[in-house]
């Protein structure tokens, strides 16, 4: 194969070369793609197909249930299952290789390649009017309902259907497409509807008419970077514009009024259209290449080309990668080509090799890079080898060359070649590989149960192999016929117990497949406390779950475990379990204070914590308003009883007994005086009595509650000053010499009654004694007229 000149099968499209590479002879037999609905996953992903019931053949009875087939790109069957769920409107793959099927009446099923699924609904509109059509992208779905509304689900992991702005259609658009959120400026999906002669662009809040004249369009396709739109007009012209319709980029007449079966992009600068038996590629300057096929094919756009599935072949159409073009283009004088040439001459033992090398000496490093890159871009293994050898040969003439690059490409080529083996059937290009990253490749391999290859790959690329082993263990458990003992030994042997491999997932699988003993055993090996919690809960190991949650320090997990228990266990058991776990108790108390006072009281009651019951009751009473005086009194009374019953509550009991008495007094006062005393403290009550001129009542309160003289005096002064009862104040001062004058003078100064303060200062000076010695001078200074 290496004998042929690589550039022989290249086609020129304006100034760029394109090549079509045959990847596989498909392993399947007798498949007529025209009878199937087909969906191919990008990045060399699997092919899903199901009989298209729009094209029912006369021979097939309506009653035969169709079968969903999932093949690799090499045409090997991965899985098949019977479809009995109603008509599929559209299907597509996500970036985690899940197959999304949108059904006629708005339900969406998401399958993994083994046929396991979950489902959700697109909402009421879809349910009532059906789904007219839909599109699927890497992480979401957009559907056009029967009443021509647009429903979008952005995140399939957490599906929340949202209705976009209503475009107000009363008939179906002639065609429609969309730009996924990650490619738009606004980071929100934009839908393009071909309506009449124009195109409407719809997002969550707007419908924008693009004022286009040359519609209606029968096909629309968005370029892989979301910047350019290809439209196919009714009269057979291909029209290419920027996706904001500001810039017209190309126009091309195909001469076919029939719209193509499929229209897609090959890279970002050519459009590929497919009619039965034909594939037409059109470039930006109206150049075109035509390929002939037998019947109907199916295409999937890749980041750097288009993968084409025919009834017996898998092909890849791409722009020839730059490095390959530099090396292999006829007459190329690129250093890479010259290096490759030099290497061939060297192999033939020709002295001209040296001359070549000398010619390109200054650019030799670039030449080596080019050859290595070209090796990565070739599918033919023999040619890969030659190119690598040429690179290696050039490297010899360089004093310093960063070998990391060389090593990296060699590694990647080995990995890609292994993946391309028909058994695995994942034909990635270098560009796709770099975009996809090894981590995701490993995920895809384990999903297809190619654990051994995945493991080898991890070891080879030195990435962590935990998830391969975990996935293997899960798969093993699901399929296993061995007894739990053997199985557990087998798994622990492989996963190890000291390397920190997470067992939670494995244990969960064991539990779900009904092997709870195995699950318990395996879960003990889980090093992360937090990860154990959810499973322990579903295994009804509630207390254990709570202990682990507390260990993790994550209070939310503690709540999760605790609230779950509260619901599922008898109250007494629940209380018993949390009572010896301080963090759980604290969190439960905080939660209940806001959500569930009753449970909190039960909890304290069970534990005989009378003081706490009293406290909660008291807290409740504090929150009550004026109108609820009676309830308030009752609550305080019941708190009092609880305090009395707790021997640690002696002080509180006494204080609240006084309070109950005070509340009674206050009600009586209100009746007698006609003013409300609700919510006042004892001091405030006395003060209010004094203010209102009920000195006797105040005095009675003082003696009833054993208020110290000093406090009473202070209240009295305050009241006298407030009511500006100067005679009363002087009388008070003279009859209560023990209280002194400085308190009065200070209070007067503070209340800004300067002349009164001066008056009392005079009295103080006249009276004399130690108080005068201590304070007089300060007051004199303070009260000196400014």
């Amino acid at each position: 194969m290496t004998d042929g000149v690589p550039a022989d099968d290249w086609n020129l499209l304006h100034d760029r070369f394109y090549r079509k590479i045959e990847l596989y002879d498909l392993a399947w037999k007798d498949v007529d793609l025209s009878k199937f609905m087909v969906s191919i996953a990008p990045f060399g992903g699997p092919i899903a197909m199901i009989r298209n019931d729009k094209k029912v053949l006369a021979l097939q009875s309506q009653n035969v249930k169709p079968i969903m087939y999932i093949y690799t790109s090499s045409g090997r069957l991965i899985n098949q299952f019977q479809w009995d769920k109603g008509r599929i409107v559209g299907m597509g793959w996500t970036n985690t290789e899940l197959l999304v099927c949108v059904l006629e009446y708005g339900s969406v099923r998401v399958y993994d390649i083994h046929g396991e699924f979950y489902q959700f609904s697109l909402g009421q509109d879809a349910k009532d009017y059906g789904v007219y059509d839909c599109h699927i992208w890497e992480s979401g779905v957009v559907a056009l309902t029967g009443n021509y509304k647009l429903v979008v689900v952005n995140d399939l992991d957490e599906p929340r259907p949202k209705v976009l702005c209503d475009p107000g259609l009363n008939q179906a658009p002639s065609c429609w497409t969309f730009i996924p959120p990650h490619l738009t400026l606004s980071r929100h999906i934009e839908v393009y509807l071909s309506v009449g002669s124009t195109v409407l662009v719809v997002d969550a809040s707007n419908v924008g008419d693009q004022q286009v004249q040359n519609g209606p369009f029968s096909r629309m396709s968005v370029s892989p970077n979301g910047k350019v739109l290809a439209l196919f007009t009714a009269d057979g012209r291909l029209w290419v514009v920027s996706s904001d319709f500001q810039k017209e980029l190309a126009e091309f007449s195909t001469g076919s009024a029939t719209p193509p079966l499929q229209m897609t992009w090959c890279g970002t600068d050519s459009v590929v259209m497919h009619w039965e038996d034909t594939l037409l590629m059109v470039g930006p300057f109206g150049d075109w290449i035509k390929y002939s096929y037998d019947g109907v094919v199916s295409m999937v756009p890749e980041v750097d080309g288009v993968r084409i599935i025919t009834s017996d072949k898998c092909e890849f159409l791409q722009k020839v990668p730059d490095a390959c073009e530099k090396v292999f283009k006829i007459g190329s004088t690129d250093p890479g080509a010259i290096l490759y040439d030099a290497f061939e001459l060297f192999e033939k033992r020709s002295a001209k090799a040296d001359e070549n090398i000398r010619n390109i000496k200054p650019e030799l490093a670039d030449a080596v890079d080019t050859c290595i890159e070209a090796a990565g871009s070739e599918f033919n293994e023999a040619r890969q080898k030659l190119l690598l050898k040429a690179g290696s040969f050039g490297k010899c003439f360089l004093d310093s060359y960063d070998v990391d690059r060389f090593v990296e490409v060699c590694q990647v080529i080995r990995v890609m070649n292994a993946l391309r083996e028909p058994d695995f059937g994942i034909p990635l290009t270098l560009q796709q590989y770099r975009r996809l990253t090894p981590d995701i490749i490993v995920n895809r391999l384990v999903n297809r149960h190619h654990h051994l290859l995945a493991l080898r790959l991890c070891e080879y690329l030195q990435i962590k192999k935990d998830r391969v082993m975990i996935h293997w263990a899960c798969a093993k458990i699901k399929k296993s016929v061995e007894d739990e003992e053997t199985l557990s030994r087998l798994i622990v042997e492989k996963l190890g117990t000291d390397k920190g491999v997470s067992y939670a997932e494995v244990a969960k699988t064991a539990f779900q497949s009904g092997q709870s003993k195995l699950a318990t055993k395996l879960l003990d090996f889980e090093p992360r406390a937090g990860s154990q919690v959810p499973l322990l809960m579903s295994m009804k190991e509630d207390e254990h779950a709570l202990t682990k949650a507390i260990e993790s320090g994550d209070t939310d997990l503690v709540y999760l475990a605790m609230l779950h228990m509260k619901r599922s266990l008898p109250t007494a058991d629940f209380f018993r379990i949390i009572s010896n776990k301080p963090l759980a108790c604290s969190l439960f108390e905080t939660f209940c204070k806001q959500q569930d006072i009753k449970s909190l009281k039960d909890f304290y009651y069970q534990d005989d914590r009378k003081l706490d019951i009293a406290n909660v009751t008291l807290l409740e009473s504090c929150g009550l308003e004026q109108e609820e005086a009676n309830i308030k009194l009752e609550l305080v009374k019941s708190a009092m009883k609880m305090y009395q019953e707790d021997r640690n509550g002696a002080f509180e009991a006494k204080a609240i007994e006084d309070q109950v008495r005070l509340m009674g007094t206050q009600i009586q006062l209100e009746r007698d005086v006609g003013h409300s005393f609700m919510n006042l403290s004892l001091s405030e009550t006395i003060f209010k009595c004094l203010l209102l001129g009920h000195g006797n009542r105040a005095a009675k309160l003082k003696s009833d509650y054993k208020v110290p003289d000093k406090r009473f005096w202070w209240l009295k002064i305050k009241a006298l000053i407030k009511t500006q009862n100067w005679d009363g104040l002087e009388k008070f001062a003279r009859s209560n010499q023990r209280f002194g004058f400085s308190g009065i003078i200070d209070s007067l100064i503070k209340a800004n009654h300067i002349s009164q303060a001066q008056h009392f200062l005079e009295i103080l000076i006249k009276t004399g004694g130690p108080e005068k010695d201590a304070h007089a001078e300060r007051y004199i200074a303070l009260l000196r007229p400014a």
Partner: protein, 646 residues
């Protein structure tokens, strides 16, 4: 201030938060309303200004506290903490929109700060609105209050941690430290003191361990940068030092906080204080102009940077100096003879005017503060505090507390003094304890039966259990009382309280410098036969060594909670090969001091003072759950304080 020389730029945290905020706002297409939980609005205002909201389609900002939101917006974005009562509020809002005469169809998104919790999801479910809302997370945790201070702005952390026993904030702080380590590198040394501090360090170490389980070696080192920009972390649990916040802060910034209250670097002032020239046209007495104005207090104001950490006693002098200088600068215009000189002056004019404006503001504030400090009760309280911390527990001062109660003085003043006495005396004698409790309840209301229990539970105000009084020993061991403090030329951190050195910062000092800041006395030095300048080199040597409690274990033993020292191995960079060494960082060591349960402005000032003392050998960055003072701390324990946790 050490600000400019910091190799470690906390603004990175602001940028991270800002980017995430933009994603949050853009998650909803088109115009929208923003509903903000009041406890998030502070930190949010530190990462974004209103124009940013506007640029991303926010039409109006609503307070979450309002029971009903009337809006034309088709979409509402809630940014709130994962608290139960807030979920109920959201449900209330949604129901109000759905019911009523003309129900409106609105799209709701809720972003939880710093993370979504299952409890909240469950409450939303129980309230029957779970299907209506799109849930997301906004990882707003440590936000920079200034160049050297970052805060979680968790207002309720003290109550949650030490009263409710809800350790959620420890978990959030641990997460934030993990994030910090992914930006600034693994912190090689972590020491700390206190029960919750221990909980935190265990959690941080566990998280790192678990992270390295789930990530392989190469990604592990990709998670953590190769070099560590923070050399050490010192975690101080608030319960280790409750004495300090009970004292009145005497720095300029501290006093502003005591008088006005500073929230997320903003202080609300009467517009007359700000001294902004009243626009000529507007009527002077319009009610709108009397509304308090929010003024930011941070290092953007150069004058404030000079003033904030000073003892208030010297602020007046400095202000008049600055006034003179500005005046002279203005006078320069008369000397300008040539056009170029004039041009030069005009160039400086903008700066001068800004300076003058700032001078006017701070002169006004200082005047107000002077009035505040001349008040008789203020001085009596201060005198009592100073005596208490110095171990002089005179009856005069206890009687004064009684007088305060009798006069129905603000409860917080009374409680702060009572707590301080209790803390330094190892509690009150039973009889006195009961007497004060009764007085408090009769004067301030029966609901304080709960407050008093809460105070006892947190150890702030309690009955004496034994004659042993650890504080007096701590005072000697850590040299808390410094008699000859000079406020003008401070030589010790105690200048922030005019003679009392905060325990917390003294602990940081002994950990970093191995000394409690003693100035070696010539006599003592020669008596011991050591050179007189022994102190200086040992300080320098201490700065080089990683922080440690070594030598001060005895003093630490007297304070509550365990102390610990942990080391973290940085990730293995073998895979990086030769590039490894080139990334080693040079320059001063950076120590992060983390306060769990909050810190005061004076403590921040004291730490800045430490940085100056260490001659550029060590920089300090302060991290805290929130900024507190004695009043907010005691308020958090009030029996009727809303229980807003969970």
């Amino acid at each position: 201030m050490a600000g400019d020389s910091l190799p470690f730029n906390v603004q990175v945290l602001r940028d991270l938060a800002r980017h995430e905020l933009v994603d949050v706002l853009d998650s909803v297409r088109g115009k929208k309303g923003l509903v903000i939980d009041q406890t998030v609005s502070g930190p949010l205002s530190l990462v974004a200004e209103f124009t940013l909201f506007k640029e991303h389609g926010v039409e109006k900002v609503y307070q979450m506290e309002t029971p009903r939101i009337d809006t034309d917006c088709k979409a509402l974005i809630y940014i709130c903490r994962p608290k139960i009562h807030l979920m109920k509020r959201i449900a209330e809002h949604i129901r109000a929109h759905q019911q009523g005469p003309n129900p409106t169809k609105i799209e709701y998104s809720v972003f939880f700060v710093p993370r979504r919790t299952m409890v909240c999801e469950r409450v939303l479910e129980e309230e029957g609105v779970y299907g209506e809302v799109t849930l997301g997370e906004f990882h707003l945790d440590l936000v920079p209050l200034d160049e050297d201070v970052v805060s979680m702005e968790l207002d309720n952390s003290f109550r949650e941690l030490y009263l409710d026993g809800d350790t959620s904030s420890v978990y959030y702080v641990a997460k934030a430290i993990m994030k910090l380590q992914t930006v600034f590198g693994v912190i090689p040394r972590i020491i700390g003191k206190g029960t919750c501090a221990k909980l935190l360090v265990d959690l941080v170490l566990r998280m790192r361990r678990e992270l390295s389980i789930s990530a392989d070696e190469s990604t592990n080192s990709r998670i953590f940068p190769a070099s560590s920009e923070i050399d050490s972390l010192i975690i101080i649990d608030r319960t280790v030092d409750l004495v300090t916040p009970m004292c009145t802060q005497l720095t300029y910034e501290g006093l502003i906080d005591e008088k006005y209250g500073v929230r997320s670097t903003f202080v609300e002032l009467d517009p007359s204080l700000i001294g902004a020239p009243v626009p000529a046209g507007s009527s002077s007495a319009s009610p709108a102009s009397n509304k308090p104005k929010k003024v930011p207090l941070n290092s953007g104001d150069k004058l404030y940077t000079q003033l904030r950490d000073l003892n208030f006693a010297v602020v007046g002098g400095l202000l008049s100096q600055v006034a003179r200088r500005i005046h002279e600068d203005f006078e320069e215009r008369h000397q300008a003879r040539t056009v170029s000189q004039l041009k030069e002056f005009v160039g400086k004019l903008g700066n001068l005017q800004a300076e003058q404006q700032s001078l006017r503001l701070h002169t006004n504030i200082a005047e107000e503060l002077t009035k505040y400090t001349l008040d008789q009760d203020f001085n009596k309280i201060l005198e009592a505090q100073q005596n208490f911390v110095a171990g002089i527990l005179n009856n005069i001062h206890v009687d004064y507390i009684e007088e305060l109660i009798d006069k129905q003085a603000p409860l917080m003043h009374v409680l702060r003094l009572l707590c301080l006495y209790s803390l330094v005396n190892g509690g009150f004698k039973a009889k006195q304890f009961d007497y004060f409790r009764k007085e408090l309840i009769q004067t301030y209301g029966y609901e304080h039966v709960l407050t008093l229990q809460n105070l006892a539970k947190t150890g702030l105000f309690r009955r004496q259990e034994s004659a042993r009084n650890p504080y007096s020993q701590v005072r000697k061991a850590l040299r808390l009382i410094v008699d000859d403090v000079d406020e003008h030329q401070p030589n010790d951190i105690s200048y922030v309280y005019s003679g009392y050195a905060p325990i917390s910062v003294r602990l940081v000092q002994v950990a970093c410098t191995r000394s409690a800041g003693e100035v070696p006395k010539a006599a003592a030095g020669s008596a011991a036969g050591t050179p007189t300048n022994a102190g200086a080199p040992s300080v320098a040597a201490g700065s080089q060594a990683p922080p440690s409690w070594k030598g001060f274990e005895e003093a630490l033993g007297l304070l509550p909670g365990p102390h610990f020292e942990e080391s973290q191995k940085p990730p293995d960079y073998a895979w990086l090969g030769k590039r490894k060494n080139s990334m080693a960082r040079t320059g001063p060591k950076v120590t992060m001091v983390l306060f769990l349960g909050g810190c005061t402005f004076t403590e921040i000032s004291a730490i800045r003072f430490l940085a100056q003392q260490e001659d550029g050998l060590r920089d300090y960055v302060i991290a805290t759950t929130n900024i507190i003072n004695g009043t907010t701390l005691v308020e958090a324990t009030l029996g009727t304080a809303a229980v807003n946790s969970a």
